[in-house]
């Protein structure tokens, strides 16, 4: 039953759309489709973005790992390397600070009527992704491979059981959320 849904292309397109609608609804309700809220986070004066992200991560981390043990989900960690993940991440960050939205929230911002997201951000990200596709052959065997660590997870890196890692990470992230909330930011 589950497999026939997962393998049905047309059904998956509709499911993707529905998940996106709920995702966009939640992002907008959380205020994180607003430039001012995202920049408030990057200027370290409004921690809404971090609160949303960390709560989502704690919830999803516990949920997905329970589902995996129960046989309803498989993990799909992305492969990475220092040259790809860290360098690309810093480039992304420069764009993040200049644009004030990310690829998901820029779509939500366009939906709520923010014209800078629609005419600036979305167009820019499409162009930037296309530029990367153009230079990809020159990067793929060089910098993107530097310091490769593959599809490694933190429990594998630290040689602990996934369950223990989830418990420690969840406790640490909740503690961090409590500290943020108590400090009133």
């Amino acid at each position: 039953m589950l497999n026939s849904i997962r393998l049905h292309k047309g059904v998956q397109l509709i499911i993707g759309l529905l998940i996106g609608i709920v995702f966009g609804f939640l992002l907008q309700k959380g205020g994180v489709t607003q430039y001012d809220v995202i920049m408030g986070q990057l200027l370290l004066v409004d921690f809404t973005v971090v609160k949303v992200m960390l709560t989502a991560v704690v919830t999803g981390m516990i949920g997905v790992h329970v589902l995996r043990v129960a046989g309803f989900a498989s993990l799909h960690p992305k492969p990475g390397s220092l040259g790809s993940t860290a360098v690309g991440g810093l480039i992304f960050g420069v764009g993040f600070g200049l644009l004030g939205y990310c690829p998901g929230t820029v779509a939500g911002a366009a939906g709520q009527g923010s014209l800078d997201a629609l005419f600036g951000g979305i167009v820019g990200i499409v162009i930037g992704a296309g530029l990367f596709a153009a230079v990809y052959p020159r990067l793929s065997e060089t910098i993107l491979k530097k310091g490769a660590f593959g599809e490694m997870t933190l429990p594998e890196l630290m040689r602990v059981k996934p369950g223990a890692a989830v418990a420690v990470a969840a406790a640490a992230l909740i503690a961090l959320l409590v500290v943020i909330e108590k400090s009133g930011i």
């Binding site: 966009g24 205020g31 408030g40 200027l43 991560v57 480039i91 939906g111 014209l115 499409v126 596709a133």
Partner: protein, 167 residues
């Protein structure tokens, strides 16, 4: 209600991630949709040989699950804004206007430049704030945690430079 608690919203996104793993066997992500769009547009101009570019052999320029997800975000945010009565065409964000002035051309050019850098960086890093920042971290992927720390390091430095030094 116009705004929900960030904790309720985060809880909802966490549950939604689980749903995506169950029904689609996929982590939520956004940035490949922009790369596929770019490929589809390039194909309109340059024809089918675009499909043979090494990058598009990995990420075929077609409408897929994630592309529909990004389209859904536009719809969902629109519905949320309309239902809470806050939908409004916004030419300029308030924070930008208070520091950089009333020219929307300047803001749109800055957003365009930011978008180009972000799109380039997202594909360089293999994901964005959703694919790495939420889906990667919740799977405890090393790539996800390294990426999200890099995103915020670069983002905080750039935002501080813009608002504390330049403007």
């Amino acid at each position: 209600m116009e705004r929900w608690s960030p904790y309720i919203v985060g809880l909802g996104i966490g549950v939604l991630s689980c749903v995506a793993f169950i029904v689609s066997d996929k982590p939520i992500g956004c940035s490949t949709a922009f790369a596929r769009t770019s490929g589809m547009l390039e194909r309109l101009v340059r024809g089918r040989k675009v499909n043979d570019k090494p990058y598009y052999r990995q990420f075929a320029p077609v409408i897929d699950w994630e592309w529909m997800l990004v389209a859904g975000i536009v719809v969902g945010a629109f519905l949320s804004a309309v239902l809470s009565g806050t939908f409004a065409v916004q030419w300029l964000p308030a924070l930008w206007r208070s520091s950089a002035g009333d020219s929307y051309t300047v803001r749109w050019l800055a957003a365009l430049a930011g978008g180009v850098v972000m799109g380039f960086g997202a594909r360089w890093a293999g994901g964005c704030t959703s694919g790495h920042g939420i889906s990667g971290t919740l799977q405890l992927a090393v790539s996800g945690w390294l990426a999200v720390l890099s995103f915020f390091a670069g983002g905080i430095a750039t935002a501080m430079l813009i608002y504390k030094v330049i403007l």
